[in-house]
């Protein structure tokens, strides 16, 4: 009996965590893609905003009726921003930290400006939950765990599997890792470091934009200023926690997501503690996702330092270092 209650609570916590951090999952995959080839894009927060606002514009102003098309438009907008970023840091070799922060700031500012007349307008063009044979039950924890919209399956299953396969089972993946670990060697065997870095940072930016699009096309589903609310930064943290391995990003995203759903559940049910009222507890719980994310970053490094070596959790060796052939 008690076991069943705990199991139910766990399932419903994770069940609501899954859609809550699908954005983080998509952005983390996008960031990881760029970082694997040595490009650190700190602008995830801005890319989420750009992806989200252009999906909103597509639906509300351009009359797009398919959520997939709206998402594609958001992804293309984010990819365009990612291309500007990539040209600055890869082609011109500007500081990835500075331009990344600039993208975060500029993306937030631009998306808020574009969304200013669309605040709170509900979006009707939504992704629908996959519901085979009508077995979905809104009140059932098992249903909450398994049935989501298609984007969620792509984010949590499709993308990690594809990325894992490409990275660790193909020659193409070997080349990607070579560009991120030792660009001079990759260059020497004829892999165009510049080309690969630009291509994968743009593709990564598009994925992060898809995360923003998912927020407004399913999760919230409406535009509000500062829509990313730190999820872009959390995604960057998840990549570190995951040790740049796609599968582990799922665990990191769900960890963050369950903290979010703990907060929302506590607020909705008015939970309190003997020494802390309901409102104080909710303030406390709203800090928790960021604190837990911070601790999560420390885990792999701590595990290495304390002697419990985790297999290959180090950052790509050439991460954030511009590659210049003439300085080889």
């Amino acid at each position: 009996m008690i076991l069943a209650i705990i199991e139910n609570a766990f399932l419903s916590l994770i069940g609501s965590a899954i859609p809550a951090s699908a954005v983080v999952m998509l952005a983390a995959t996008g960031a990881m893609l760029g970082e694997r080839v040595g490009v650190l894009n700190l602008g995830q927060e801005g890319l989420i905003g750009i992806g989200a606002v252009y999906s909103v514009i597509a639906v509300l102003s351009w009359g797009v009726e398919s959520p997939w098309l709206a998402m594609l438009i958001g992804m293309m907008a984010a990819a365009a921003a990612g291309l500007i970023f990539a040209l600055c840091v890869v082609a011109f070799r500007a500081s990835q930290v500075l331009v990344g922060l600039a993208l975060a700031l500029g993306g937030i500012g631009l998306s808020n400006q574009l969304g200013v007349n669309r605040n709170g307008t509900p979006i009707q063009t939504l992704f629908r939950e996959v519901n085979p044979g009508g077995v979905l039950d809104d009140n059932d924890a098992v249903s909450a765990f398994f049935f989501h919209d298609p984007v969620v399956y792509i984010a949590y299953v499709g993308l990690p599997v594809v990325l894992w396969f490409v990275l660790f089972r193909t020659r193409h993946g070997m080349n990607m890792k070579a560009v991120g670990e030792n660009p001079a060697a990759a260059d020497a065997v004829g892999v165009s470091v510049t080309g690969w870095r630009i291509f994968y940072s743009v593709l990564g930016a598009a994925l992060t934009g898809a995360g923003g699009a998912y927020m407004v096309l399913s999760f919230t589903p409406t535009w509000s200023p500062d829509i990313a609310r730190g999820r872009g930064w959390v995604a960057l943290a998840v990549v570190i926690f995951a040790g740049w391995r796609p599968g582990w990003a799922v665990a990191g995203a769900l960890l963050y997501g369950s903290m979010i759903s703990l907060d929302t559940t506590a607020q909705a049910r008015g939970w309190g503690l003997p020494f802390m009222g309901a409102s104080d507890l909710s303030f406390f719980l709203s800090m928790l996702p960021y604190v837990v994310t911070l601790v999560a970053i420390l885990i792999p490094a701590g595990a290495v330092k304390l002697g419990r070596r985790v297999r290959s959790t180090a950052a790509p060796a050439a991460l954030a270092i511009p590659y210049a052939r003439e300085e080889r």
């Binding site: 500007a94 700031l105 500029g106 500012g109 080309g195 303030f283 960021y290 701590g302 330092k305 950052a315």
Partner: protein, 384 residues
Amino acid sequence: MTPLASMAGAVLSATPWRLERRLEVDAKRAALTRIGGAVGAMVVVGILLLLTGRNAFLIFWQALDAIFGRQRGVEGVALRAIPILMTALGVALSLRMKVWNIGSDGQFLMGALAAVGVGIHMDGPGWLVLILMAAAATLAGAAWILVPALARAYWDVNEIITTLLLNFVALQLVTWSALGFWRDKEAAVIQSTREVPFTLPGIPGADSVTIALLVPLAIAAVLWWVFRSTTIGYEIDIIGGNPRAAGFAGIAVRRRILVVMLFTGAIAGLGGMLQLSAPGAQAMNAGFSAQFGLSGFIVAALAGAAFWGVIGGGLFIASMFYAGIVLQTKGLSVYIIFAVYGVILTGIALGEIAARYRVARRDAADESGAAADEAVAARKGAGP
């Protein structure tokens, strides 16, 4: 992949110009190109706004005229310069050893929050409470960066994300204090903490600027002296240049990183107290920091960690900031300012890189060099 790369290569080699790397980059030229990048970025934004039918150049000129034409405007800039200068000095100090403290907003907020805690709970002579507030703010700022600093120094955990995540925690904590544990129950409209009854003495002749303005100037002077004349400053610069070499030279690199990071947090935290002790700003709410940390970061990036440059850059960004407030009354939203910040920061980053190159005309020798490259590439392509 290959078509994309070869396309990019073709575009570059199609021009008669090529980039040549300078053997030495002198600091003055780098500063000039950074400023050039920032100004160029602003011109780009102005042209974009012009295309949308707003004459930003005219509005901006009017805003600057409104600032520097009268005392209220000048004081408005000075008031905003204080927090921006403090966070910028903290960031600039960390940049001396190539550490990115992006959490100065959080350290600033925690410093102010600690100062509120002391200010609303203590009775006593004003000067004593103010000194205790400053001490508490300094400690709180340092404490807020303690975990990222320890992780960076001893576990080699990159400080960018860890310091930034704590900004969100600090903001939540400030919101909690304003709506929860230190809430002013009399104020009905704007929810904020209770008001601290003490303010710093004003500068003679000024309406609102206090002696807080002297603090960043003094800190800049001290830091300038430390890096010019002391062993510690020299060691920090060596760590910034090459941490491995610094380790071989017998410098306690990890401890230096920890201590410097704590100082950057402490300076930002003290900035929070200075902001709080200005007349009319003695209570906190969630909007207490108007992105002062980010503004400070941009100032430090613009100044390239030169402390006197921070003062100049800080006044520049503070004027921009104040002009931005004036611009808002003319129909530009606050969000535009962020977008402009983003473009300016990109301009600074590109300017920084531009100092390292010069544009030279391709000559015959290069052409033969390129031909040799192509021959090598062709041989590689044909190989096994």
